[in-house]
């Protein structure tokens, strides 16, 4: 007789005030299986995982662990059963060593006996190079993730849950992680792998359960599917890939940045060194890089929230604005889409018309002797809502009431309809559902085709390759020289993300990157 599933969920339902987060969800994970849980943001993946890991309790439904009905009351109970989880956001103390961090996160008796030795043994066994003596603040994001993985492995888990583990990794680090996960699975450990990256799921996972709006909509074998077919299952609609003219000519450079050197005002921030680039009219420049390599600082410098020493370090359509605040730059034709939607690009508790006013007041002259032009602002907000298919009852709804994708469409639309000559967007589709993401990318491409200079800073390589004409990489606060996107491969960019330093001259990026293996 075949062994019972490692974990089986039958009819799990979880309701939050006003939302049905999980509705009658079934899930079956076999021993040694790598099982993908696939779905857009808000599809109910996190809720389901929280129920499995004992963080939340389901309202109804049955959970079978190795054939026996179980009730997982707390994360502690989950760990006792043999369930381990690696969260998307790490909980590590920067000022402590790897060993100390691991000791803090596991059972006391497990932490006592020769922990360092066992860390080394586990890391050798699964190909996760890590030194227990090192301090966490000296480690890269990929290495930090290994700490979390090792912490789970020390407890000999029989089910390992990974929540979007690759969103912070370079392609090379992803390979290392996948190798580890495959070894674990072949040793009999089941893995529940949460992601919305379809190519990864195709290469790694044996089975996939696809969720949409709280329900399981399909189960499939990823190897038999295409990324496109899975995306369509996930979205419940046909996916539209952005269209663009193949051959494009650029105009004059509209955004010229040179010699930007600035110390980061943030704790654990990244200083910028000798940043310089140009974006021409009609061009989409993509800047790739792992989060925390100076993107936030670069965005601050471009918006004008941080001022550089020289006015002519940032030239927008011929106007030197390095020493000017955001509104002077807006007048010169710059539009900004910050990374944080709530709290930076928009005020959560304010209405949509007030949020339209927030960035459009200067360019669209929405002030009359110091008083807000309510009607004109509302009309503009309505125009954005209509033009970008933002789903909301009206302009008097507050920004926080919109879903992530809808709010992002509103923010992008708010900037684009001001007809900017230059636009910069940081992580424009982060945490946005696939449908909205496609619309946002299309809007950026359309803007470039109308003759604007478009700069997109993103961690999402798929996105950058989809929309960029040229690409460069930011790493450690330095920017590589931009190269036509067609000449580059994902591998090359990945290597540069892992460790290129300084602006690599044309063609030498690869060689230099090899000196710093990821």
């Amino acid at each position: 007789m075949a062994p019972p599933p490692r974990l089986e969920l039958i009819g799990i339902t979880k309701r939050y005030p006003g939302v049905l987060a999980n509705s009658d969800v079934d899930l079956k994970i076999m021993p040694g299986e790598i099982h993908a849980l696939l779905g857009e943001n808000g599809a109910g993946k996190s809720t389901l995982v929280k129920c499995i890991y004992g963080v939340q309790r389901a309202d109804s439904g049955t959970m079978l662990w190795e054939g026996r009905e179980t009730d997982i009351a707390s994360p502690n109970a989950a760990r006792k059963l043999g369930i381990g989880m690696v969260f998307q956001h790490f909980s590590l103390f920067e000022a402590m060593t790897v060993e100390e961090n691991i000791a803090l996160g596991i059972d006391a008796d497990l932490a006592r006996k020769d922990l360092a030795g066992r860390i080394r043994a586990v890391s050798r066994q699964y190909g996760l190079p890590i030194d227990p003596e090192r301090y966490v603040h000296t480690l890269s994001v990929g290495e930090r993730q290994r700490i979390e993985v090792v912490r789970c492995l020390l407890q000999n888990p029989r089910l390992l849950i990974m929540d979007e583990p690759t969103s912070v990794l370079t392609p090379q680090e992803v390979e290392v992680l996948f190798e580890t996960l495959r070894r674990l699975a072949s040793a009999g450990c089941s893995i529940l792998y949460i992601s919305h990256k379809l190519e990864e799921i195709k290469t790694l996972c044996h089975k996939a359960t696809i969720m949409r709006m709280g329900e399981v909509v399909a189960e499939c074998v990823p190897a038999d599917e295409t990324a496109r077919s899975m995306a369509e299952l996930m979205m419940g609609a046909n996916l539209v890939t952005p269209e663009r003219r193949p051959h494009r000519t650029y105009g004059d450079p509209l955004l010229v940045v040179r010699d930007v050197n600035i110390a980061s005002p943030y704790q654990h921030g990244t200083d910028l060194h000798d940043i310089g680039f140009e974006v021409a009219a009609g061009e989409v420049l993509g800047i790739a890089g792992i989060a925390g390599n100076g993107q936030r600082e670069l965005m601050g410098v471009l918006i004008g929230e941080m001022l550089v020493a020289q006015a002519d370090s940032i030239i927008i359509d011929g106007v030197s604005t390095g020493r000017s605040g955001p509104n002077r730059r807006r007048i010169a034709g710059f539009g900004f889409v910050p990374e944080e939607r709530l709290g930076h690009g928009a005020v959560p508790q304010m209405t949509l018309w007030e949020n339209a006013f927030l960035s459009a007041a200067t360019r669209l002259k929405l002030l009359n002797r110091g008083f807000l032009k309510v009607r004109k602002s509302s009309e503009y907000a309505a125009k954005v809502i209509e033009g970008f298919r933002v789903k909301t009852p009206g302009v008097t709804n507050v920004a926080a009431s919109l879903s992530g994708g809808n709010l992002q469409k509103f923010i992008i639309g708010r900037e684009i309809l001001q007809d900017p000559g230059v636009i910069v967007a940081l992580q424009p589709t982060w945490g946005v559902d696939a449908g909205s993401a496609a619309a946002i990318r299309q809007a950026l491409i359309d803007l470039a085709e109308k003759g604007a200079a478009v700069l997109v800073i993103s961690q999402d390589l798929e996105e950058l390759f989809e929309i960029s004409d040229s690409m460069s990489v930011i790493s450690g606060g330095r920017l590589s020289t931009a190269r036509p996107a067609g000449e580059l491969t994902v591998e090359e960019i990945g290597l540069m993300m892992g460790g290129v330093h300084g602006a690599a001259p044309r063609g030498s990026g690869k060689a230099e990157a090899h000196a710093h293996p990821a």
Binding site: A58, I303, G325, G343, H344, V347, P348, T362
Partner: protein, 359 residues
């Protein structure tokens, strides 16, 4: 069976306005217990405290006399608190405002002109602003905590007042009492209802509450203040500078407090005395929060708080209760208000915990 708090999906707009009412009800309930323990009849005490003062024409007039400074200061503080600028020194700004306006009245003691009163009001506003400028400067230049600087400056202001009424500004014909000369008619605010102390300061206050509402909801200054308070990063994205917001809010609230001070001495008091305000500047902090930092809410909150002052006096004279009862009332009210505000973000669930039935 147990009681627990459950987070709401969204802050409840209804509870934002219901919470002050809950707080008032709880305050009354708690004070009835307190009166019972003190050995007085709780119902009679509440009647004496809240109803009796309002049974005469004079009592109603006094209510608005006391509400005037509370509302003025509370409206000004709303601008500060909305921007997360914590001006705790309104009492000091009130005092300096009173001294600036009062100084003018004394300097032109012999001059009879209709310009004197407006000039005094302006001087009062400028005095309050000047006193608030010190914490503003210290905060924007040296990043000092405005809570401490504004609070400490209150005591400096009170000592300045004390020095002036005991020394240079003492009434030469006043038998050495520490009081200034009584202001001339041209330096006192016209009465609104004859036979009472109600003066046009109340009308000024009503008008300014309306102006404040317009400023907060429709003017770029109010917009900047609200954005800055709710999302500082969005404020810098919009190009609003923090130093400007700090200056603006402190100038508005300093000016409002200074105006309240000069209205007090040019209105009900009529001269400079050692104690100009029974702590209006501090009570107005409660008023501002009771009114949800909304000018019209502050108007209602100010009237309610004025009633606690009147009630305290009435309870003192008719029931032999100590004056400290007023302070206890105001303290209880703030305490219950802060506690009730939990209900804006949480709801109370009573009963056994709902668990996964089959889990």
């Amino acid at each position: 069976m147990r009681i627990r708090l459950e987070a709401r999906g969204q802050p409840s707009r209804r509870m934002v306005w219901l919470s002050p009412i809950v707080a008032v009800a709880l305050t009354i309930a708690a004070s009835m217990v307190m009166f019972a323990i003190l050995g007085t009849d709780p119902v009679a005490a509440i009647y004496n405290y809240f109803i009796d003062p309002l049974t005469t024409r004079n009592g109603v007039a006094e209510l608005f006399v006391k509400a005037t400074p509370l509302v003025l200061i509370g409206v000004g503080l709303s601008f500060c608190f909305k921007a997360n600028v914590w001006n705790i020194g309104a009492e000091g700004q009130l005092t300096i405002g009173a001294l600036a306006g009062g100084g003018l009245a004394l300097a032109f003691y012999d001059v009879d002109t209709v310009l004197l009163l407006p000039a005094m009001l302006v001087a009062g506003i400028l005095g309050g602003m000047a006193w608030a400028a010190i914490p503003a400067l210290l905060k924007t230049r040296f990043n000092t905590n405005e809570i401490l600087t504004s609070l400490m400056l209150t005591y400096v202001a009170l000592l300045v007042l004390s020095y002036l009424v005991h020394g240079p500004w003492r009434d030469p014909d006043g038998f050495n009492f520490p009081e200034s000369r009584l202001f001339h008619d041209s330096a006192t605010l016209p009465q609104l209802v004859s036979g009472t102390r109600l003066h046009i300061g109340w009308l000024i206050t009503l008008a300014l509450a309306g102006v404040a509402w317009l400023m907060l909801t429709r003017h770029i200054i109010g917009f900047q203040i609200r954005v800055f308070g709710m999302a500082p990063a969005a404020a810098s994205f919009a190009g609003f500078r923090e130093t400007r917001v700090v200056w603006m809010t402190l100038m508005i609230s300093g000016g409002a407090s200074g105006l309240a001070g000069v209205i007090e001495i040019a209105g009900p008091i009529g001269q400079i005395v050692p104690v100009i305000s029974p702590g209006y500047g501090f009570t107005a902090i409660i008023v501002a929060f009771l009114g949800r930092l909304h000018p019209f809410g502050v108007l209602l909150g100010g009237v309610l708080m004025a009633l606690t002052y009147l009630g305290g006096e009435s309870a003192q004279s008719t029931m032999n209760l100590p004056n400290a009862v007023t302070g206890v009332f105001q303290g209880l009210l703030l305490f219950f208000l802060l506690a009730s505000d939990v209900l804006v973000r949480y709801r109370i669930r009573i009963g056994s915990v709902m668990r996964g039935s089959a889990l």
